[in-house]
Structure formats: structure tokens, C-alpha cells
């Protein structure tokens, strides 16, 4: 493994953390709409499931390395229904330490020195370091704003077909997609996914589809799995997260689903890196999945009810931001909202640090307004920074009181 790659990687991650948390750590009175995790409680049955699992002797010891049997069986059931195909629980599923661990296993298994991997901007910040750690080269393509549109929704951001096509060549090993997307909240349409699929098939490229926010889909939109498009099952690894599904990010469980000939390599990585994931946590997630499988399609199903709960929060935050004179990008999915801060006309030229505008803005906002967000240029490559530097990202999977506290800050801000 080359140190050159890894040191570049650490610079990226550290930047985001530094911005978001240095001040926060010092000041607990800051309203945190920055890092993407809930401050709302997970469903009580999920916690009870963990307590119950932990009280069983066998559940405190090692389980099957590639995934606890009751969990992979439950996943096979739930996703068999979603995909409309039989999914082999032992050969086509790998349980990992969070969606993050799935991404890592996928990259280490399938990407190597000299490969190129296409990454769509803005992207979840770990993709680039992971591609580099595998010795490959990230190739960026930005989502672009439809011309003449005032940014009001994540659907206004699209991939230029010619531009995308130009990024594929004989060295392209894979393309990474994230739908619903963090941070924009875009949900790729069937046509858009078909366009990507066509290119993957034409160039014999793999697709790594990060779908951790798959259940957080708002009214009028539908999450489509690229793996279900013709010719794509055999070349796609789909990544999901228990943390995002059940609002338990601190459990760090995720899974990869894909064809045996690809999944088996991810399993080899697992065997040589961690060996197995925590047993009681897997058992509890299995129980949660079984419970919700029975409820699928009904309003009580957590996969549906969480999205409904979040849609209300989404709309509330959007209103708060609009009233403060900012321009929110209404997300079709996920639990983040991008905000264009151009109209605030905040002059930060007195800050001479060599940083993008959004970094300066967020630091200033944490310090002066006690409100935390994440700068969006943390999610793009150098060449696209100018395109995104007037955007900041808010997370809205927060208690109403947290959102109202943010609202108060923003209301006072608008007045001043």
C-alpha cells in the first residue's frame, strides 16, 4: 500500500472534521445540523431487540464471518421482495461494519493499481480516499444545475450524458453512484440510471451503488435499484446501512448485495480484515427486519414511517431557511438539505485563509451564529469547487427542538 495515497486521503477527511468539530468541541451551545446522524431515538423495539440478544449466551460469541445467519436470511427476504429476485443469503450477501465497511470491502476486492473509478460530484467524502487506497485514480464528473433554473429541488441537478460518456475508457473499472445522494438529496431517475447502465454494459464496467438512504424517499419519488435494470445484476454491488435504516448509526452494521462472483471477493477481504461483525447487533437488526418485512407496504412499516416523519422536518427546515433569505435545495430523498447562501451576500474577503467560500462561511457561522453545517466543497474534487462553494449542507434528522433552535438563530439573523 502506498503511503502517498493514504496521506492525501487523510487530508481530505481531516479538513471536514476540523471545520465542523473543532469549534463544536469547544462550545456545546452550538446547534448542530452538521454531521449526519439522528438526535431522534431509534424505534424502541430495535433497542429491546439488542437487549434481548445480549442476554442470550450464544449471542455474545463469534458468529458466521460473512454475516450472522438470521440476519442474512432476513436480508434475503426483504431484498428478495424489493429486487424481485431470489437472493442467496450465503453467497450474495456480505455483512460489514456499516455502509462504510461495505464500501471499503468493495474497493479492496474489486479495484486495483492503475484502475480508474468514476465518482459523481458531490460525493460522500470517503469514496476518494478509498479509491486511492486501492491504488486507483478517481475520475470526477459533477452533477450540473439545469440552465435557467432557480435551484429549488435536487431534481434540478443532472448528469450531462456526453460528459459522462467521455469519462469512460478502457481503464475504467467502476462507477460509484449514490442514490438518494448525500449531500444533494437527488434520487436518480430510471432514465438516468439506464444511461449509466448502458455505459457500464458498453465498457464492461462495474457499478458500486451506495443506497444507504434507500428508504428515505419523499412523496412523488421512487428509489430505483440500478441492479434491477437489465444486464446490471451481474456487475453491481449495492450497499446499504442498518444505521441509516433504523436510525442507529452507532451500531455500525451494513451489507453489500451482489452476484456471487463479485461478492465472494468482498468476502475474502472481510476474512482478512475483520473476520466477523458483532453478533448481538446483527441479531437485533435481523429481528427489526423480520418485523418490518411483515409490515412492508403499510404505514406502520418503519421504512415508510421514518420517511414520513422526515418529510415534515424537511419542509419545516426549508421554510425556516427561506424565511432567513437563503435558498434551500429541496431534497427528493435522504436527510440532508443543500442551501445556497449567495443571497445573504456575506462578505468574507477579510478572512485571508486559503479556503473555499463555504468553508469560511461555515466556520464563521459556527463562531458568530452558533449554528453548524458542513461545507459542500468537502464533497467535490478541486476542479468543481467553484461550482459548489456557495452551498452548505444541513442535516434534518433532528429533534423538532433542534430544528426550532436553528430556526430562532436564523430568524434573528434575518432581522440583523
Amino acid at each position: 500500500m502506498s503511503w502517498k495515497n493514504v496521506e492525501y486521503a487523510v487530508k481530505l477527511i481531516v479538513q471536514v472534521i476540523m471545520v465542523a468539530f473543532t469549534s463544536l468541541a469547544a462550545d456545546p451551545s452550538v446547534v448542530n445540523l452538521g454531521q449526519g446522524f439522528p438526535d431522534i431515538p431509534p424505534p424502541s423495539y430495535i433497542k429491546e431487540g439488542l437487549a434481548k440478544a445480549a442476554s442470550e449466551d450464544r449471542m455474545n460469541q463469534y458468529t458466521r464471518g460473512f454475516g450472522h445467519p438470521s440476519l442474512v436470511k432476513a436480508l434475503s427476504q426483504v431484498y428478495g421482495k424489493v429486487y424481485g429476485r431470489q437472493i442467496d443469503p450465503f453467497k450474495e450477501i456480505l455483512v460489514t461494519v456499516g455502509g462504510y465497511g461495505s464500501l471499503f470491502s468493495t474497493m479492496q476486492a474489486l479495484v486495483e493499481e492503475g484502475d480508474e473509478v468514476i465518482i459523481i460530484e458531490p460525493f460522500f467524502d470517503c469514496y476518494v480516499p478509498m479509491v486511492r487506497m486501492a491504488g486507483a485514480k478517481p475520475v470526477f464528473i459533477p452533477l450540473r444545475l439545469k440552465p435557467g433554473k432557480k435551484t429549488i429541488t435536487s431534481a434540478d441537478w443532472f448528469l450531462d450524458p456526453d460528459e459522462l460518456s467521455s469519462k469512460f475508457n478502457s481503464k475504467t473499472k467502476a462507477i460509484i453512484i449514490n442514490t438518494p445522494n448525500n449531500p444533494i438529496g437527488k434520487i436518480f431517475t430510471r432514465d438516468e440510471l439506464q444511461m449509466i447502465a448502458d455505459l457500464c454494459i458498453k465498457h464492461d464496467t462495474l457499478c458500486f451503488s451506495d443506497e444507504v438512504y434507500e428508504w428515505l424517499v419523499y412523496k412523488g419519488h421512487q428509489h430505483i435499484k440500478i441492479a434491477t435494470l437489465p444486464g446490471m445484476w451481474d456487475r453491481t454491488i449495492t450497499i446499504s446501512s442498518a444505521g441509516k435504516t433504523f436510525s442507529v448509526t452507532g451500531w455500525k452494521l451494513g451489507w453489500s448485495i451482489g452476484p456471487e462472483h463479485l461478492t465472494k471477493h468482498l468476502q475474502t477481504v472481510m476474512q482478512n480484515t475483520l473476520y466477523t461483525c458483532a453478533t448481538p447487533l446483527q441479531e437485533a437488526v435481523a429481528q427489526g427486519l423480520v418485523l418490518n418485512y411483515e409490515l412492508m407496504g403499510q404505514p406502520e412499516c418503519y421504512f415508510t414511517s421514518l420517511a414520513e416523519e422526515l418529510e415534515v422536518k424537511r419542509d419545516r427546515l426549508a421554510t425556516i431557511l427561506q424565511e432567513a433569505g437563503m435558498t434551500p435545495v429541496i431534497p427528493e430523498g435522504g436527510y440532508f438539505m443543500l442551501v445556497d447562501v449567495t443571497s445573504l451576500n456575506l462578505d468574507l474577503s477579510h478572512i485571508t485563509d486559503d479556503e473555499a467560500y463555504d468553508y469560511k462561511f461555515v466556520k464563521w457561522m459556527i463562531k458568530e451564529k452558533k449554528l453548524a453545517a458542513i461545507p459542500v466543497t468537502a464533497f467535490v474534487g478541486d476542479e468543481s469547487k467553484k461550482q459548489f462553494e456557495k452551498y452548505i449542507r444541513f442535516c434534518f434528522i433532528k429533534q423538532d427542538s433542534t430544528l426550532e433552535a436553528a430556526g430562532n438563530i436564523l430568524k434573528n439573523w434575518a432581522k440583523s
Partner: protein, 420 residues
């Protein structure tokens, strides 16, 4: 299918899947399982209570915590181990919490081994070290522990590392030496003089030392676990790995850690941040409480770190007597929860013509599972391919099991010896 070069290399490392294979075979034949190394009894009540308390704690118990280690856990680990190592351990700089000791090993090898580096592994070794060295682009170089010639080899203490043989393996490309004390599968607990010999070589040749000490609390008959990191000149070049799973009999929680000098931990943090990033919060909270309790109880008879080895001491004796009565020669482990036994005196027709290429102990273990319903692990799985044939007459038993499991094994062995 196209897979990365790394995977192509590790696929050749058959050893890492051996334990899983034999565990599956044991399950298929419903064998009494003294194979895979985990307790079949529960963790102590206080740690289970701590986990339950964490689960019903505030919402933050179920969300991300600090990536490099939950603050209460790293603080308690620093407090606890500073006292033992004799060095002020910085909780935020000198510790990384990982998903089990397994991931700690992965971070260590990835962070510290570069393309072309050589890593000396003392055999017999826990099977993951070799594939991890290969995955990091390094080359594994082996040096075996050897039973002292001329003595009736009865104890793991009789297996020693030759200073000359070890020194002869060092080249200009050697980056690190990997030791495991107490050792799996042998149970050897390295004495201070032995560690000093290794330390001298590390210092002279500017090598790192990766010290896997997951069984650190399990020592018997007065054997003392010594941390090589506590020897002069070793703190800054030693990476010490520990495991909550082995410490608190909760292998399924997958909480481990690395303790080392900040300048080495820093690189492991980078690997961790770009592979896993966070470990589960509630389990870390529970382990933090476990260490707090043990800090107060240290040296006390109620300390779990005294009670567990005391309980296992009795089981060790029970298993050894049972094997000896069978005419087998167990090697008494000074530490850990495994016991290896010489099976060369066993006369048995293995009836497996198709497998004659496999090492003898592999074939014997399979036969024992299928014909007698007793599962163990072949010890040559813990050796390099080049030394496997030299050490293919031993099998490994795990004794961290309920007495009823050990009794069931005893029944099987007694019936077998009566049939002979």
C-alpha cells in the same frame, strides 16, 4: 471474475479459512466442539449489565461516537494500562479502538508494512498474520518455536526461540517482528529474558514489534505475562494489541484496541478512518465500564482477571488428565485457552485415500470429527507452508468451555480408548 491483485494473493493463503472450514464440518457432524476458540459460557454478569445499561442509555448510545475510540473507553484503557506498562498513555494519541483485535492487526500491518518489507512471524502463529502481511505488500519470513531437544516436552515453556535462528532471519528489508504472548495455539508465555532477546534485536536493527496480547490475563502456575512494550527502548517501537472479546469472554462484541506510541498510532488511525471509521458505541461503553470496575478490583480475588484464569486453570487440568489417560501427550500451556497434543502415538486407519496429500493432522482432525464426533483444529494450519510437514503431528483443543462440554469430550475419548 475480475478481482484485485490483493485478493488473488490472499486467495492463495488457504490457512485463513481453515478454522471456518473445520467449524462448519463440526456443525455438519454435530461434533462436540473443542475446535474454534470462543467460550461456550456467558460473559460475566457485570459486563452484561453494563451492556444493557448502555443500550437503554440516552440516544447518543446508538449513534456515532468518536471514530478513534469512544472517549470513556480510551480514558479507561489509558488509566488501566498506564499502571501496567509503566508509561503515561495518552488516551487520545496512544490508543486506537478497533473492531476486535483482528481489525487492530489489520490496521497495524496496513499502516506499518510497505511494499517489499519483510515481516518475521514466530510460528506457530494465529492464521491471519500471514495474509495480512501479504495484503500490505510485504513478505512473511518465518522462525519456529522449537521444543527443547532431549527433554520430555511437557510444557509450552519447553518450546523456545533460538536467538541465532531469529537473528539469521533479519535482513535489510525486515520491518517488524510479530509475537503472540500468551501464544495461540501453543500457550507459551514468553519470559522476560526471551522478550529481552527479541527487544535487543529490534533495537539493534531498528525494527518494529507487533505484539498480539489478546490472552494477556490467562496465565497459569505462576507464569507472568510481560509486555514487551514495557522493556527499555521498546515503547516507541511496539504496537500492543488487546481484545475485549478475550478479556471479558464476549468474543461476539468485536471490540479490540491497539496501544502504542502516538507516532505509530497516527498511521493506524489513517487506515482505520479510511476503512471502518467508527466502532459500535454501546459495546465500547460497556467495555469502558468493565475496565473501570477492573481498575478498582485490580489484584483483588473478585477481579475477573483473576477469576477467569482460576476457572480455566481447573479446566486446563481436567482436559490434560483426560488426554493423558488416553495415552496422548498434551503440552501444558502456560497461558491462553488452547492445549496442543502430540498425536504421533495414535494408531488409526484414516481410511481417506483421496486426501493423502493433506498434512497428517488435517486428515486426523477430519476423521476425528466424522468418526468420533469430536472437533479440534490441526496445528499445522498455524505454520508456514515450508514448515507444515515438520509440525503435522499435533492437534489443538480449546478448553474455554463449560464443564459439560469437556465431559462430553471426555466420554468420547474414553469410549474410543476402550475400543482400542
Amino acid at each position: 471474475a475480475k478481482c484485485s491483485q490483493i485478493i488473488k494473493c490472499t486467495l492463495h493463503c488457504a490457512a485463513n479459512s481453515i478454522i471456518e472450514c473445520f467449524t462448519q464440518l463440526a456443525a455438519d457432524y454435530k461434533a462436540v466442539n473443542l475446535g474454534q476458540g470462543f467460550p461456550d459460557f456467558s460473559p460475566p454478569q457485570f459486563i452484561q449489565d453494563a451492556f444493557c445499561k448502555a443500550i437503554s442509555g440516552g440516544p447518543q448510545m446508538h449513534q456515532y461516537t468518536r471514530g478513534f475510540g469512544h472517549p470513556p473507553l480510551v480514558k479507561n484503557l489509558a488509566k488501566f494500562f498506564s499502571r501496567i506498562v509503566g508509561h503515561d498513555i495518552d488516551p487520545l494519541e496512544d490508543i486506537l479502538v478497533t473492531v476486535g483485535a483482528y481489525q487492530a492487526l489489520f490496521c497495524a500491518f496496513q499502516a506499518l508494512v510497505d511494499e517489499g518489507d519483510e515481516v518475521i512471524i514466530v510460528e506457530p502463529f494465529f492464521d491471519c498474520y500471514q495474509p495480512m502481511v501479504v495484503m500490505a505488500g510485504g513478505k512473511a519470513v518465518y522462525v519456529p518455536l522449537r521444543p527443547v531437544s532431549g527433554s520430555t516436552v511437557l510444557s509450552s515453556g519447553d518450546w523456545i526461540l533460538s536467538a541465532e535462528e531469529l537473528a539469521s532471519k533479519i535482513t535489510s528489508r525486515t520491518k517488524a517482528i510479530v509475537i503472540n504472548t500468551p501464544n495461540n495455539p501453543l500457550g507459551k508465555v514468553y519470559k522476560t529474558e526471551e522478550l529481552q532477546m527479541i527487544a535487543d534485536l529490534c533495537i539493534r536493527h531498528n525494527l518494529l514489534c507487533i505484539s498480539d496480547e489478546v490472552y494477556e490475563w490467562l496465565t497459569y502456575d505462576g507464569a507472568k505475562h510481560v509486555k514487551i512494550a514495557s522493556l527499555p527502548g521498546m515503547w516507541e517501537r511496539t504496537v500492543t494489541i488487546g481484545s475485549a472479546g478475550k478479556t471479558f469472554s464476549a468474543t461476539g462484541w468485536k471490540v479490540g484496541w491497539v496501544i502504542s506510541s502516538g507516532h505509530l498510532i497516527k498511521h493506524m488511525k489513517t487506515i482505520h478512518q479510511n476503512s471502518i471509521y467508527h466502532c459500535a458505541t454501546a459495546a465500547q461503553e460497556a467495555v469502558a465500564h468493565g475496565f473501570e470496575r477492573e481498575y478498582e478490583m485490580f489484584g483483588n480475588p473478585e477481579s475477573y482477571f483473576k477469576q477467569l484464569p482460576a476457572m480455566l486453570h481447573h479446566k486446563r487440568k481436567k482436559l490434560a488428565l483426560c488426554l493423558q489417560s488416553m495415552g496422548l501427550q498434551p503440552i501444558m500451556p502456560e497461558g491462553g485457552y488452547f492445549m496442543i497434543t502430540d498425536i504421533s502415538s495414535v494408531k488409526v486407519n484414516l481410511n481417506d485415500q483421496s486426501n493423502t496429500d493433506e498434512p497428517f493432522d488435517f486428515r486426523f482432525v477430519k476423521w476425528l470429527i466424522k468418526e468420533k464426533g469430536l472437533a479440534t483444529i490441526p496445528v499445522s494450519a498455524f505454520y508456514s507452508p515450508e514448515h507444515r510437514k515438520e509440525f503435522d503431528k499435533y492437534i489443538r483443543f480449546c478448553f474455554v468451555k463449560e464443564d459439560s462440554t469437556l465431559d462430553a469430550a471426555e466420554d468420547i475419548l474414553r469410549k474410543w480408548s476402550q475400543q482400542e
